[in-house]
Symmetry: C2
Subunit: 221 residues, 2 copies
């Protein structure tokens, strides 16, 4: 199970058909829950004790984690190789939602998408993006033939000049170490976002902002 | 004055010529400071009490805030209309550094770029981007003639189809409210990043990821 807080996020998750286990709220009338016995009215103080937030919202809900769906390989897939920061993962899920990327494939060491920080950061996008956790090297090895793997590397060729297909798998690497050697051997094309600032000390873009630019490049064409 | 922590950030700020007021460190040999009387050796425990971080680094330095430089209007300028979150501001400063945008003009209610969270998030980029705080409506009103103002609006025209000049001012708005009416009246062209996800519930991109896509579009051409 996982926790979600605030009226907006809770309602989006219920609307998307996720199964509710329990809802704790200071205002029962704020929510339209079919099974009233799942709803517990609590005081502001009790909610504060339950909440993961510094400023608790109107309610806190516990949902069952939905089953992972199969990944359709005829569309663009984003894959994460050990992205550890929940804030980055949340931002990346929102980006997938915006750019119409339906499937996000995560290595087993990537942050948990049901971490409360991720749920709050995605603002409901988690209901529209299929996030699955897999043995990533195995997933890439067993992909359908003809599906090209793109990986972001500092020494890659400019994403602005690359021919980008409508389907394919884009791999983004770990915050500190980038893409691991285990994954690199499955990469067909190494791409990069060129640096326009001249100073060599500018090290790299954050993985979430790099994902924004890469998805924009794949989708705009 | 402002605080910076960690060997890497402190050394980058010193290398960039910022004036040091004091350095507190558990390892004096880790830093190459000209004026030794500015360096105070402290214990791990004392550093922990001084530090803003949950895991203190090797040292904490206090620097003098450098003087704002004039903004050159013949280059691309990024302007922020009340971006309040220090994390977003830090990410945006790093993006400016990467994309070679030398001048970041902030409204008076934008987060303080010398906030410790911003300094840590910029990873030294703050030394390569000139961040100035101005009365933003006045700055836009008094800009040089011929300098076009671009603003991001949900109802703007696609940034992918827009003619984008090499100079100009790009305005990004507040996290919750976007660009204010006071600023909107100076905007010559309203632009947006098209949503590829079909679900209307996907509300908007985070201001930092939107800035990544917009700067990429201006610079790649």
């Amino acid at each position: 199970m996982f926790v979600a807080e605030g009226k907006k996020v809770i309602c989006e998750l219920m609307d998307a058909g996720l199964e509710l286990h329990a809802l704790f709220t200071i205002d029962v009338s704020a929510f339209d829950v079919v099974h009233q016995k799942l709803v517990y009215e609590v005081t502001q103080n009790e909610l504060k004790q339950l909440s993961f937030l510094t400023t608790p919202q109107v309610g806190l809900a516990v949902f069952y984690i939905p089953q992972q769906k199969e990944v359709a390989q005829e569309a663009l897939i984003l894959a994460l190789d050990d992205v550890r920061d929940p804030g980055n993962l949340g931002t990346i899920i929102r980006l997938c939602d915006w750019f119409g990327v339906k499937n996000l494939v995560c290595s087993l060491k990537t942050a948990d998408c049901f971490n409360p920080k991720v749920i709050q950061a995605t603002m409901g996008s988690i209901t529209r993006v299929n996030v699955i956790y897999v043995d990533l090297p195995m997933f890439l090895k067993e992909r359908n033939s003809g599906v090209k793997v793109f990986g972001t590397f500092m020494e890659g060729s400019s994403v602005y000049n690359e021919t980008l297909p409508e389907n394919g798998i884009i791999v983004m690497g770990n915050e500190a170490n980038g893409i691991s050697e285990d994954i690199e051997k499955f990469v067909d094309a190494k791409i990069t976002i060129p640096r326009f600032g001249l100073d060599q000390k500018t090290e790299s873009l954050n993985v979430a902002t790099a994902t924004a630019v890469i998805l924009s490049e794949f989708k705009r064409r």
